[in-house]
Every structure is written in C-alpha cells, then in structure tokens.
Amino acid sequence: MASPYRGTSDPAARRPLLELHGVSKRFGAVQALEDVEFSVFPGEVVALVGDNGAGKSTLIKIISGIYRADRGTIRWQGKQVAIATPNDSTGLGIATVYQDLALCDNLDVVANLFLGRELATPGGPLGVMDEVAMERRAVEVLRRLSVKIPSVRIPIAALSGGQRQSVAVARSVLGDNKVVILDEPTAALGMAQTHEVLELIKRLRAQGLGVVLISHNLANVYEVADRITVLRLGRYVGTYDARATSREQLIAFMTGAASNSGEVPTVSEGAIGHRETPA
C-alpha cells in the first residue's frame, strides 16, 4: 500500500508532527537524557533503538507526559507545546501502547477499544452505552487495519498475543491520534504474530500516522522503519536512514564501537520523512 502522504508535495507531510530539540532529563546524579533530538513525520515509522539504559523509555515517558523534560523544546505540528501530564499528551493526539498493553482480559474487544470513552446512547438515560455504535466503529477500525480476530465480542482472554497487541494498537488509532508510540510490540510474540504486528505498523504508516517503534529486535526495525534514532547512555548518537545504514554500523553506534565520523550520513530531521519507500 502506498501512503498518500509519501512523495507528495503536501506541506503538511513535510512538517513533522512531533519534534524534540535538546531534550535533557536528570534523575538525581544520573543524566538519563542529554540533548536528544527526535522527530516523527506523518506517514513514517521512526525506530528508537539503543542498549539497555540508553534512555529510550525516559524519552518515551517525556513524550507521553509521565516525566517532564528538564531542558529542551517540544513542538507539535510546528507549535511549541508543554507536555506536563499524560492527558496533555493524549490531548495532542499521541497514543502510547506500553508493553503490558493495558487491556482488560475479562472484557470483549469492543469494550476494550472504548475503555474509558464509551459512547453514550443519544437521548437515552444517563450513562447508558450505545453498544451498537461502538461495535460498528470497532469493526470499522479493525477492518481498516486488517486486524484478524475471530470476533469483536469475545473477551481479550481468548485472543493470541499478536491479536491482543493488534487490539491495543487499534485502540490507539480509534481516537483521533496522529502519533502512535509502540513500546516493544513484538517482544513476547512468535514469528507469525510478529509478522502480523509489523504488517499492522505498515498499515498505520499507510494511513498517515507517525509511528514510533521501540524495539530490541533489529530485524523488526529494519523491516518497518524509515528512520532510526540511536541513543546511547542517555546521549543522542544520531538519526539514520534505515536503507542507507547497515546493521553492523547500527550496532556499532548503539554500542559505541563507532562514533559517527562521517562514513554514514546522519540525516537531519525530516530529510527523508516523506521519501518514497516500498511498503
């Protein structure tokens, strides 16, 4: 599927949805992040990689409003914003899917998709849910993402790990979100299920969303990412074009075996954000 956002001259597509400049965060004596640059464009997948303790989680938590950056600026669609609480983040249109998925096993797929924002029956008694409308929208969004589940009315407990991940991702798309952050979405999955989730990520990109993928699995990263941002020990190493950087180079950046001394072009934010890529 070719994204309508790729290779267009649409100015909206050339402008990053989310930009972070010079973001730093310190916990006591530990400098968790220092001068980190990060950006996501509409219709692209940016992978965030780094060894354990590189600061990936801290960065994500700053974006999703759980931590507040000590220094640095955050821009949303060009405008400077402050993200002080999780509500600020979701209010902008940023959805974060954590590793534990935060689904209720006992509730069905529709209930989970609309958890906390159930639709009310128009004109009905106060607080009565409109199950029909919710199911319609749920089916719609799952179809759009080609998520394969036996039914929207079976409890999450009856789904496979990949299906659960898909439901969690679908939930993040259901709201009018523009950026979806996926924290290790394939960590606990088998091969077939991993494939399923990676395909889902490609479809999110095709729909014009900006996807931030955090993963330890470089094979997965290379399969879907357009750009790769590398962090090491809280420092920003660089952002690289996934197609122009070999895996060996990437590992060298992650482990510090090589500094970026010019042999690999560091791409500035957005330089390839709208590049044509085979999906």
């Binding site: 096993d105 006992n106 029909v132």
Partner: protein, 407 residues
C-alpha cells in the same frame, strides 16, 4: 479485508435450534463464562432431593412463600457483595452493617418516633456512609479492603449493641416498615408482576436485534432469546401460581427482584457498570484508560453497604424487631456464598448480578430444606460449607483452564 471479522460467534446460533444454542454455550464456556447453568442445575438437584425427603412439603405453596421471605434480606445484602466482588474486593462488614442500620432504623422509628419512611431513609444513608467511609479508607490509604472491612465487622457489630442500648431488642410497630415484608401480592397484581417480568426478559433481545440489524451488524438468531424468554416466563408463571396458592408474592421479594434487575442493567449497559468490570479485570488498565478508579471503588463500597442496610430493613420488617444478633452469624457468609455460588469470581471482573438471586435461592433452599427435615444446625452449616467449597473450586478450575487455553 479480513473475512474472519465478518463472523460473530453469536451467529453460530443460526446453525439452528438446539445445536446452535449448545455451540454458543460451549463457546462461552471456553472463554471462561460458565453462566448461570451450574447454579440452575444445583437448584433443581437441591429441590428434587428435599421434595423427595420431605414428603412433598418442600415445594408446597406454604414452604415456597416462607422461602421467598427468607430470601429477601440475604439476597439484598448479596447484591452489594456481587458489586464489591466484581471489583475484586471484599466487604466483610456487610452483615453487621445491615444489623447496625436496621438498629438505627428501629431506634429512630420507635424511640425517636419518626415516621417509617424517614427512619428507613436514615438507615440507608447510614449504610451509604459506612460503605463510603470504608471504601475511602481502603482506597486512600492503600489498605486491602479485607482488613478495613474486617475492622468494620468488629466496629459495626459493637455499633449494633450501642445503638440498641440496654434493652437489646427494639420491637418495630410502624406500619410502613412492617408492611415491607408483610404485604403480599395476590391475584391480578401477582400475575401482573409475572407478566411484566416476562416482557422485560423478552424485550431486551428484541430491541438489540432490531438496532443491530438497522446498523448493519451481524444479528444473532432470535431462537436462543425466544427459548430463554419462554422458559423464564413459564418459570415465573409457575412460581406465581404456587405462591398465590398460599399467601402470595411477598413485597420484599418484589423489591429484591427489582433491585437485581436494575443493578443488572447498570452492570451490563451503563458506563458505571463497565467501569466496575474494567477495574475488576485490570485496575491499572482502567486507570490508564482514564477511569476514576478510586471514586468508582468508593461508590461501590457505599452501594454495597446501602444494599446491606436495605437488607437489614427488610429483615427487621419480617421479624418485626431488631435485636442484638441482627446481622451476626451466618448473614455475611451466606451473602458471600450466594454470590460465589451464582458464578461471581472472587478474583474480580467476572459474574452477573443474577448471582445474588440464584445463589441466595440455593443457600436458602438448603437451609430451609434442612429445617423441614429437622436436621441440626451443625449439619446445615457443614452442608452449606461443602456447597460453597465445591462452587469456588469450579470457579478456580475454570479460571485455570481458561488461562491455559488463552493462547
């Protein structure tokens, strides 16, 4: 486009008749929802055993009316416990809370001389206050509800003694209060109730069916809903005929049924009910989804104690008095046992409000039947314990098999 999405498992009922209904039930079993079948089966078994051993007295009209009177108070307390158990919490103080609220009502009615409705309203408010206090304490200080309500169990038990004062017993004479359990519906009123109930059971699936079809969603076969509605209607009519042959339908039973129906609707259809299930299933997920977990918890504890208070009022209405043993002894354990026997999981998030009614029916049938056979209380308690253990074991085993089958 996914082809699998076009199918809804409920549609398998369209496979036709009995086979479809069975297939649907199997599907639900596999997802860990045993539904009301086990409790229905045990009710039939219990009724059969006692009917035979008591020479036909158990299912006689006189005894059935007694059974409904015995059910009202405990069943009402059980409603609150179902709510709390769905959250994955427990309220050990529900029994004594019912006692202390009944005592408050009795004292305001008799000693202070307030009119019946006012005294009852004060008792309900006291119940809500007790529950809100315990819920808030447990939530805000992060103390397990088991401990907070255990403290409440002791404290409110003392409250009963203090409120009733030196005499220890207050006889309730206010007509409004005594008529709550002392009024019986017969004739057209009784059959009207049965008809209303049947219409309620039938109309829900019909409305859903029409709305789903209008929205272009898959529609489950109406066969299952029809079979269910007819079966329930027949049961209702048979029950009313039997009860009307004696004194009739006790008003307190009507209150119990009404409360179960209303709370069942809230649990299934209202956002508040969805929040309760969500918190019981995964409190952290509920919190992250923006559900006000603490406020819902406090509200549910308040509701639980309020239903306990109402149960205490109904019990006092039936006994025409409140004494020092109000809400003590088996009251709490029976209410918890009823909820669990009715299929409410102790681990939270699973179960239906009908558990309060059906589970209470099982518990009270055992108690009532053993009284008919003049068996000692010792045997009664042991059998009740056995039934409880078996049902909790079923819950646990189903849970484990579900966990195993989840992937």
């Amino acid at each position: 486009m996914s082809s699998t999405l076009d199918q809804d498992p409920r549609v398998i009922a369209e496979l036709g008749g009995v086979r479809g209904v069975l297939a649907e039930y199997r599907q639900r079993l596999r997802s860990g929802d045993v539904g009301q079948l086990p409790v229905m089966v045990s009710l039939v078994v219990i009724a059969t055993i006692f009917q035979v051993t008591s020479d036909g007295r158990f299912l006689g009209p006189f005894n059935l009316v007694n059974l409904t009177l015995q059910m009202a108070a405990g069943g009402t307390i059980s409603i609150g416990l179902v709510l709390v158990l769905l959250l994955g919490e427990i309220d050990l103080s529900a029994g004594v809370a019912s006692g202390v609220c009944a005592a408050i009502m009795a004292v305001y009615s008799v000693n202070v001389g307030l009119p019946g409705p006012v005294a009852v309203a004060i008792a309900l408010a006291a119940g809500a206050g007790i529950g809100a206090l315990q819920g808030a304490w447990s939530t805000l200080f992060g103390i397990p509800s088991f401990i907070v309500t255990l403290a409440g169990f002791s404290a409110w038990g003392g409250g009963v003694l203090l409120v009733l004062g030196r005499t220890g017993t207050v006889n309730v004479r206010d007509a409004f209060i005594t008529e709550l359990a002392g009024t019986f519906l017969t004739g057209p009123a009784a059959y009207g109730c049965a008809a209303l109930f049947a219409v309620y059971v039938a109309i829900g699936p019909l409305v859903t069916h029409r709305r789903r079809r209008a929205a272009g969603l898959t529609v489950p076969s109406l066969a299952f809903a029809a079979v269910r509605a007819v079966a329930i209607s027949v049961c209702a009519v048979v029950a009313v005929v039997a009860l009307a042959a004696d004194r009739g339908i006790s008003l307190s039973l009507v209150f119990l049924l009404a409360a179960v129906i209303v709370m069942d609707f809230v649990l299934r259809r209202a956002r508040f009910g969805r929040m309760i299930y969500a918190i019981g299933g995964n409190a952290e997920a509920a919190r992250r989804a923006g559900i006000p977990v603490q406020r819902v918890r406090i509200a549910v504890f308040a509701l639980c104690s309020m239903f306990a208070a109402w149960g205490g009022v109904l019990g006092a209405s039936r006994l025409l008095a409140v004494n020092q043993s109000a809400g003590q002894g088996q009251v709490l354990l029976n209410a918890i046992a009823a909820a669990v026997i009715g299929g409410v999981s102790l681990f939270g998030g699973r179960g239906s409000m009908w558990a309060a009614l059906l589970g209470t029916m099982v518990i009270q049938s055992i108690s009532n039947g053993m009284d008919l056979l003049s068996l000692s209380s010792g045997i009664k308690f042991m059998v009740t314990g056995g039934v409880l253990l078996v049902t909790v074991t079923i819950d646990s085993v189903v849970r484990r098999s579900r966990a195993a089958a989840a992937r």
